[in-house]
Symmetry: C2
Subunit: 294 residues, 2 copies
């Protein structure tokens, strides 16, 4: 694995995803300065040799690359532009990388603000969930200049297996929106198909096995089809997060003046799941809206 | 390849799918008696050494295994139960295999009628399209008794790569209905996702490449995502056929008392494509309903 220990990484956001990502970067030789709102995880990671920052500003001050991995657009805005935010401590020449799932319009705005301070910006949202983060097997979809992407690449290669620059700033978030549409809608497709089989008296596990390698096969059928068969919904990725990502994709579609009817329906089905009390379950629990006996 | 040349195969229906399937069976050593409504293809296949039958009845009379591969439930009923149908010529101990996509309730009724005459029945619809038929790489989902499936298996292994007995008579058609739900809805998901990317100014080909191997990856993205990017809709499988299969799946769902909202919407989107004049295009042309500039 290539790395650039002449870069110091400020890592902000140590949740389900951020914590294993920071750990991989530390293990591959990068000096890390970490910040997280909740302090218990910070204390734990410090024992491994990472440095603590008092605020995002403080993390930016001590770093050359700042990675942000927080829950949504509002939290990202606060971390970047808030009173104690990254912009308050950023040095000219630093690189900010947002690896969360953030609205496209906000992403372009954040990049402009960072650019005015002489910083560079890459949006690099990921797919692969907590397991992908733990195994350093994330899919990373990046938007930014060629130069900024080249600088970020050794970091990405420490965290993921499939790293693509899809275009300029914002393009990574566009790809992530597209990714979440496919994930949500394919979960919905698998849910309806396996429920039909089950209600018709045919073993869904045999149907899933029959599909292997054929036109109906997908990573979603492989992983989430099995979860539905087992009715095992401990979250890798939560239904509320999937719902948020679909709503964000629909805002983007509206801004572009296009209608995405299946995405709208899928968001409504996630709303039903959340109303049923399933918001904290894995997003594959969408099957519970179709098959009310699960 | 195992084969059983002590069986003679009557093959009824020599269209896009049936013709290459009959040819593979002939090449692997089975004596073939063929019937097709349109006669030009029959004349052509006879030059390869296959025998012609004057009717489905005639084909049944000369065979021990009768394979039916016609366009829909009504055509299958006519071939099996009509005045010149298979039941008129069937010998006790013969095996009837329906490899088309046929309604589940009708399938069970056909199997009963064949059973009364001492025949056995397997429903074995396929996935993989014309290319899968040509390459003997079909996915085959079979329903029937263990004994009937065991007898049919060498035939299936001549035609496909992934052969599964999913349950008793009708189970193959249930699996096929589930398969078509996933195919139609995943095409719809890929169409919305790639259209969003394109309208947001991001190259859909790069988005597709970024997804490879990740959670948004599927056989549909691999094959039909590329078709959408190329706007290349010469049919492997036609939109009107996909629409018919979805409608059939919805009839089954209604009989079972379950609601499949995303499948309903997907059928409606195929109706829009057909209204736009796209019914004879490949089913991936559904993207033309979402992206009206393609």
């Amino acid at each position: 694995m290539t790395n650039s220990p002449d870069e110091t990484i400020g890592f902000i956001g140590l949740g389900l995803m951020g914590r294993p990502m920071a750990t991989h970067l530390h293990q591959s030789g990068y000096p890390l300065v970490i910040y997280n709102r909740s302090k218990s995880v910070v204390a734990e990671l410090c024992t491994l040799g990472m440095t603590t920052a008092a605020s995002p500003r403080d993390a930016a001050r001590q770093s050359t690359i700042i990675i942000v991995m927080v829950s949504d657009t509002a939290a990202t805005e606060d971390v970047l532009l808030g009173d104690e935010g990254v912009v308050q401590g950023l040095s000219s020449g630093s690189l900010v990388i947002d690896m969360g799932t953030t609205a496209v319009a906000a992403t372009r705005r954040f990049a402009q603000q960072i650019g005015r301070l002489g910083g560079d910006y890459v949006d690099a949202p990921v797919s692969g969930g907590q397991v992908g983060a733990q195994q350093a097997a994330l899919t990373i979809m990046a938007g930014g200049s060629d130069a900024a992407f080249a600088r970020a690449k050794p970091v990405f290669e420490t965290l993921g297996r499939h790293v693509t620059r899809v275009g300029d700033v914002g393009a990574g978030q566009v790809a992530k929106a597209a990714n979440q549409i496919i994930v949500g809608l394919t979960i919905g497709a698998v849910a309806e198909a396996l429920t039909l089989a089950k209600k018709a008296g045919v073993d869904p596990a045999k149907v899933r096995a029959a599909f292997e390698g054929g036109f109906a096969w997908s990573r979603i059928m492989e992983l989430h089809g099995q979860r539905m068969i087992d009715a095992e919904f401990i979250p890798g990725a939560k239904a509320v997060t999937q719902r948020k990502d679909l709503a964000q994709a629909l805002v983007l579609a509206e801004q572009l003046g296009i209608d995405l009817p299946a995405t709208r329906l899928n968001r409504d089905l996630y709303d039903q799941l959340i109303e049923q009390g399933g918001g904290e379950l894995d997003h594959s629990a969408l099957v519970k809206v179709i098959d009310t006996e699960i």
